[in-house]
Symmetry: C2
Subunit: 114 residues, 2 copies
């Protein structure tokens, strides 16, 4: 099965391009790994503090995209103050091993030249 595309045969879907379009931004992969490593769902603030440098706006937007892609589940509790939990969906978990192996590759081959 061809997972990339050529110009000669016009395609509607180019797996390698599309997946990087989705998860190739600055924070997506790190957010997913962070959620994947937690045993339980994480609250918004917990996620924000764990990741660290990310701005509220971008964290919120990235989580929203992940939710739309079906990779992350968002659970709202009708409490005051509000509480929102985030966790990986089954689909999100299925992506995790690939992110890990990429990260491991980087750990072995990219130290020092960054």
């Amino acid at each position: 099965m061809r997972v990339f595309c050529r110009n000669s045969e016009p395609v509607d879907f180019c797996p390698v391009k599309d997946v990087f379009d989705r998860i190739g931004n600055k924070w997506t992969a790190l957010i997913m790994l962070t959620l994947g490593q937690a045993e339980r769902p994480m609250r918004y603030r917990q996620l924000h503090e764990t990741i660290g440098d990310i701005s509220q706006k971008v964290l919120t937007a990235t989580l929203k995209n992940l939710q739309e892609d079906g990779l992350v589940a968002r659970q709202v509790y009708p409490e005051v103050p509000p509480r929102v939990d985030y966790s990986l969906t089954a689909k999100g978990q299925s992506l995790l091993p690939h992110l890990y192996s990429l990260a491991e590759w980087a750990n072995e081959h990219m130290r020092g030249n960054n």
Copy 2:
């Protein structure tokens, strides 16, 4: 081995973030897969025609980055008209399987929602 990072322990190197910083742009992964699938080195124009939509400027810049990261080798032949061949280095080839598995994941999980 931890391949992602936390804010609590300041790190100089965050594999998952850094690898996506490098190969997470619009064309890098597709270029690598294209080079990886060819048996022989590819000329600049050949690469350009195979990829299709990419502009000259971006193709040149991306190849330059790949070269600086040691993922792609650039061979110049002192001919007229000039001839330049591109191929994956061993390091570049070692990344290939991870790109493939990501693309395969996309092929199975992302069709239709793009």
